[in-house]
C-alpha cells in the first residue's frame, strides 16, 4: 500500500500506526483498559 505516493511495507505501517496510537495515548485521547 502507498502513502503520499511512496510504497510502504507492512513493517513500516506497523511503526506508523503505533506512533499514531502513542500520540493519542500521550495526549490523553485513548484509554482502553484491558
Amino acid at each position: 500500500m502507498t502513502l503520499f505516493g511512496r510504497r510502504v511495507t507492512l513493517d513500516w505501517w506497523s511503526v506508523i500506526l503505533a506512533a499514531v496510537v502513542v500520540l493519542f495515548i500521550v495526549v490523553g485521547w485513548v484509554r482502553v483498559p484491558w
Binding site: V22, V32, W34
Partner: protein, 365 residues
C-alpha cells in the same frame, strides 16, 4: 504549477489557476477516498477478529487455568474449518500481521531497555546455536530423504528463524521453486498450530518457570504470531521473554538469508548479491526499531506511567486480534506438506525443541 498531461488526456495549453487548483483538489479527494475505500474492506474481518478474540477472553474467564490466547485461536480454528467464511471477511482476517507488529512496537514501552539487552544478549547466543542446528540438520535430512537442497534450506531457515516470512525471503534470495516454498510453509504452519497447544501443556508438566518457558517458546516456535501466542498462553511474563527472544531471531533473518544466498551463488545456483548492505536492510524487520525506540523512551522517563500502562493495554487488544486471526487463518485442508518435507520438519522441530530446553536449563539458572 502546471497541469499534468498525458496522451489520453491531452492538455491544449496552460489552464486557468482555479482549474488547476480544483483539478489538484479532485485528485487529492480521489486519493483520500481511495485510502478510505481500501481501509473499509478490512472492517468486516477486523470486527470478526474482535468478536472471536473477545469470545475467547470471556470463555477463559469461565474455564479455570486457561488463557484467552488458546481459546481465541481454538474458536478461530473451529470457525475456519467448519463454516465457509464469506469473502468479505478475508481481507480483515489477513490483516492480523499488522496488528501483531503494531502490538509488539507498543509493548516496547513496557520493557526497560536494560532488560531487553539482558534477555536479548543471552537469547542471541542461544538463537545463533538454534539457527545453526536447524539449518544443518534440515540440510542433512533433506539429502537423506531425497529432497532438493533448496527445500532443505527453506525448512531449516523456516524452523530456525521466523517461519513464513523467512521462507518467503529465502525463496527469493536462493531462487527456490514456489512448490518447495509451499511445502516448507505448510510444514511450518502445521507445527506452529500444534505447538501453541502442546508447549504450554508440556511446560506445566515439566514445571517450567516463566523465564525458562519464555526462552523455550521464543527459541523453538517458528512463526512470530504463534510464538507470542505460546508464550502468552503460559503466562504474561513468559510471553514477554518469548517476544524479546523471538525478535532476536527475526533480526538475524537478513544475515542468515544473505549467508544462504552467497552459498548458493558460490555453487552457481543463484546470482551474486551485489549490494550486501542493501540486502540486509531490506530484510531487517523494521518494527523491531519501533519496539526498541519505545523501550528507550520509557526507560529514559519520557513516558508517564499511565501512558505506559495504556500502551501495554492497547497492545493486548491488538494481540487479541492477532490470535483470533491466527485461528481464523488456519485452514487444515490447505496444509498439504507432503510426507517427506513433513518428516524432515518433524525431526528438525523435535530436535530443536529438545536441544533448546537443554540449552536453556544449562545457561539460565
Amino acid at each position: 504549477m502546471t497541469a499534468p498531461s498525458s496522451p489520453a488526456h491531452p492538455s491544449p495549453g496552460p489552464l486557468p489557476e482555479g482549474a488547476v487548483a480544483s483539478g489538484s483538489l479532485a485528485r487529492e479527494t480521489a486519493s483520500a477516498g481511495d485510502i478510505l475505500r481500501k481501509g473499509l474492506i478490512y472492517v468486516p474481518g477486523v470486527l470478526l477478529l474482535l468478536a472471536v478474540g473477545y469470545l475467547g477472553k470471556v470463555v477463559a474467564e469461565y474455564v479455570p487455568h486457561t488463557a484467552y490466547v488458546i481459546w481465541a485461536i481454538a474458536i478461530g480454528m473451529v470457525i475456519r474449518n467448519t463454516i465457509p467464511i464469506p469473502k468479505v471477511f478475508l481481507p480483515g482476517i489477513g490483516s492480523y500481521e499488522l496488528w501483531l507488529k503494531t502490538g509488539i512496537v507498543l509493548m516496547g514501552a513496557k520493557f526497560a531497555f536494560q532488560n531487553i539487552l539482558a534477555v536479548g544478549g543471552t537469547g542471541l547466543a542461544m538463537v545463533v546455536l538454534e539457527i545453526a542446528l536447524s539449518i544443518v540438520v534440515a540440510a542433512y535430512l533433506a539429502r537423506k530423504f531425497g529432497l532438493s537442497d533448496k527445500l532443505g534450506s527453506l525448512i531449516g531457515v523456516g524452523v530456525g528463524i521466523c517461519g513464513v516470512s523467512a521462507v518467503i525471503g529465502a525463496t527469493g534470495a536462493i531462487k527456490a521453486r514456489q512448490e518447495d516454498a509451499s511445502y516448507a510453509i505448510a510444514t511450518i504452519l502445521i507445527f506452529g498450530a500444534v505447538m501453541v497447544f502442546l508447549y504450554p501443556f508440556i511446560g506445566r508438566i515439566v514445571g517450567m518457570s516463566d523465564i525458562h518457558f519464555g526462552y523455550w517458546a521464543g527459541l523453538a516456535v517458528d512463526n512470530t504470531a504463534e510464538c507470542l501466542a505460546t508464550g502468552f498462553a503460559y503466562s504474561e511474563g513468559a510471553g514477554r521473554v518469548a517476544t524479546v527472544v523471538k525478535l532476536c531471531r527475526n533480526a538475524l533473518m537478513g544475515l542468515v538469508i544473505l549467508f544462504m544466498a552467497l552459498t548458493y551463488a558460490r555453487r552457481g545456483m543463484t546470482a551474486e548479491v551485489t549490494d550486501k548492505a542493501r540486502f540486509l536492510w531490506d530484510r531487517f524487520p523494521k518494527f523491531v526499531l519501533g519496539f526498541l525506540a519505545l523501550s528507550l523512551a520509557a526507560t529514559f522517563g519520557l513516558l508517564a506511567q499511565e501512558s505506559v500502562k495504556a500502551m501495554a493495554d492497547f497492545s493486548k487488544w491488538l494481540f487479541l486480534l492477532t490470535f483470533a486471526g491466527v485461528g481464523l487463518s488456519t485452514e487444515f485442508s490447505r496444509m498439504k506438506a507432503g510426507l517427506k518435507p513433513f518428516a524432515v520438519g518433524f525431526v528438525v522441530e523435535a530436535l530443536v525443541s529438545v536441544m533448546t530446553i537443554g540449552m536453556i536449563y544449562l545457561v539460565i539458572t
